[in-house]
Amino acid sequence: MTPFTQLDGLVVPVDRANVDTDAIIPKQFLKSIKRTGFGDFLFDEWRYHDHGEPGMDCANRPRRTEFTLNQPRYQGATILLGRENFGCGSSREHAVWALEEYGIRCMIAPSFADIFFSNSFKSGLLPIPLATETVDRLLREVEATPGYRLLVDLAAQTVKTPSGETFSFDVDPFRKECLLNGWDDIGLTLHHAEEIRAYEAQRRQDAPWLFV
């Protein structure tokens, strides 16, 4: 996993509440057995006029120009600014893979859905919850300022605006450590293999019916 330390990124707003994972990556793309190939189909129904299908060449598909991801000023964005309950709905990690492949490294919103939130860290993406009023302000500033960037510093747990204003955010210390170092969870857990075996042995005694 690529470590996440600092990110100085262009911001794209998606100004809607309850953006669900079906919207982020529609279900027809879930039929893929691969981990890649989702970036062009990120927000497919909002991004294109026609109906997307896996394997399509997106270069010449008719685009919905009103959707922010299609606007020239937001090209190359790495930070997505959203509303409450971002990423609700299904557990599909494809939503995170699509965001990652598109180039997003960080999402900022007043709140995130739980599964999406934990999925994000697994691909090295950082979800940052900020107060609703702060997000409101950032949304206004982004819309008013072409080329608007934010500086995210994970070690310091801060988001800095172009005017120098700084907001701090919370992040789980364990998740932070993993992101900063680019650690992979499975490797970490297998360091504790002995403890897992000991737990298992005890459980087999106490509740053997669970081991069927």
Binding site: R16, A17, N18, D20, D22, A23, P26, K27, Q28, L30, K31, S32, I33, K34, R35, E45, H51, P54, R83, E84, N85, C88, G89, S90, S91, R92, E93, H94, V96, S111, F112, A113, D114, I115, S118, N119, K122, S123, D172, P173, F174, D185, I186, L188, T189, L190, H192, A193, E195, I196, Y199, E200, R203, A207, P208, W209, L210, F211, V212
Partner: protein
């Protein structure tokens, strides 16, 4: 010291190790696997040369992509077919417990787990599927995970977790006639919102929950995720124990007695303290119908489509306007005037035998409205289908003009060929009414099985209580 909640008990019993900051290695007893969220995890395992930690913990089957045409033998869509074949190869290659196409035990994982006794009280249960919360109905700690976590559980039998906050949703009193578990959970979501349970594990309790069958409790826990909570659960009682007894993977003989005694402890202590308590009065709950594109956009069948002009919060107003535009609905329209194109009865929310019985009871001897393009019944599993057929429910449905299909997820998310066309309104017993969920441009209204059945007969919504 305060007593423990059911969630505390389930959590504590599965801690392998915990760091001072609360980061916990949680042991997983059961891992359900389906074709959509597993291929990349199996691939990851292979690439790193790892083996599944405990293959008996895994139960695999294809459900999302499978056709529902009676007697189908192949999957026409090559992309879907490859995904199902990939699961087939992985499951056989690793010698997993697997219900392939053609096995009548196959079905939606969340219907099959409990049916097979693979879901047991006191377990931790995960699946790469957000509706894993369903299994919490058995006083299990059950939640959906992403594909990286699927691989993590395969490789280590554990997950790295932090404990959630606890919420008790207490439903007091008694439900009125015609009002079901589905209406309770839709009413709860209407009250607390789709993010109301975010960060919480919800225990559903109170007399109205205790009065429900296991099927009803599963319907409620199924949609805990629609209230934002990864896990929902209900305490063990006689209903739970009776349901589990005799299931293929349930313990037997002396072990059964021991297990059942242990399971009886799976309830919150009387003096347990929850971080939040949400009370509801069952008697006040009416049959529910969603009008928008989020499950919280719900009202009772005797209500109207709301008017965004009367919403003070600008963000909410904007999403209401967006939803009404998508749904093609005018503010203040009575819900009973919404005309329907299709009706779908099925899914892991309401595709169990009790749901089919409830719908059939209403339909018996009547006909689907001529204005309807399609009315589908898709049993949640092959065994549900077989049971329904042995009770003659299939004939009640087909004589009324419903199509009787093979088991699977079907039109709940339209990954197979069953789907809505743009602009079509559907009364659906599933759990999500998101834009495009049942087909691009499709308009979903979530309801109970009995409400879907009366709507199919009338061609529009009808209050099942006055039917």
């Amino acid at each position: 010291m305060a007593g423990k909640t059911l969630y505390d008990k389930l959590w504590d019993a599965h801690v392998v190790r915990a760091d001072p900051d609360g980061t916990t290695l949680l042991y997983i007893d059961r891992h359900l696997v389906h074709e959509v969220t597993s291929p990349q995890a199996f691939e990851g395992l292979k690439l790193t040369g790892r083996q599944p930690w405990r293959r008996e913990s895994m139960v695999a089957m294809a459900d999302h992509n499978t056709p529902t045409d009676p007697g189908f033998t192949t999957i026409a869509d090559p992309v879907s077919r490859l995904q199902v074949e990939t699961l087939d190869a992985n499951a056989r290659g690793l010698n997993l417990r697997y219900f392939p196409i053609g096995d009548k035990r196959r079905g939606i994982v969340h219907v099959v787990g409990p049916e097979q006794g693979a879901t047991l009280p006191g377990m931790t249960i995960v699946c790469g599927d957000s509706h894993t919360s369903t299994h919490g109905a058995f006083a299990a700690l059950a939640f959906g995970i992403g594909t990286s976590e699927v691989e993590h559980v395969m490789a280590t039998q554990c997950l790295i977790q932090k404990k959630a906050k606890s919420m008790l949703v207490r439903v007091d009193g008694q439900l009125g006639p015609g009002v079901t578990a589905k209406d309770i959970i839709l009413a709860i979501i209407g009250k607390i919102g789709t993010a109301g349970g975010t960060g919480y594990a919800i225990e559903f309790g109170g007399p109205a929950i205790q009065a429900l069958s296991m099927e009803g409790r599963m319907t409620i826990c199924n949609m805990a995720i629609e209230a934002g909570a990864r896990a929902g659960m209900v305490a063990v009682d006689d209903t739970t124990i009776q349901y589990v007894q005799g299931r293929p993977s349930a313990p037997q003989g002396a072990l059964w007695e021991r297990a059942a005694a242990a399971w009886r402890e799976l309830q919150s202590d009387a003096d347990a303290v929850f971080d939040q308590v949400v009370p509801l009065d069952a008697a006040m709950i009416k049959p529910q119908v969603t009008w928008g594109t989020s499950p919280e956009m719900v009202t009772s069948v005797d209500g109207n489509v709301p008017d965004p002009a009367r919403e003070a919060d600008p963000v909410k107003r904007q999403s209401m306007e967006q939803a009404l535009r998508y749904m093609g609905l005018q503010p203040n329209t009575p819900m009973t005037q919404i005309k329907l194109d299709r009706v779908f009865i099925g899914s892991c929310t309401n595709g169990r035998i009790e749901d089919l019985r409830a719908a059939a009871a209403v339909i018996k001897g009547r006909k689907v409205a001529a204005s309807l393009k399609q009315a589908l019944v898709v049993p949640g599993s092959g065994l549900v289908k077989q049971q329904a057929e042995s009770e003659g429910l299939d004939r009640i449905f087909t004589e009324a003009g419903f199509e009787w299909r093979e088991q699977g997820c079907s039109m709940c998310l339209a990954m197979n060929a069953d789907r809505l066309l743009a602009g079509e309104h559907c009364a659906s017993t599933s759990n999500r009414n998101f834009e495009g969920r049942q087909g691009v441009g499709g308009r979903t209204h979530l309801v109970s099985p009995a409400m879907a059945a009366v709507a199919a007969l009338a061609g529009h919504f009808v209050d099942v209580r006055t039917f």
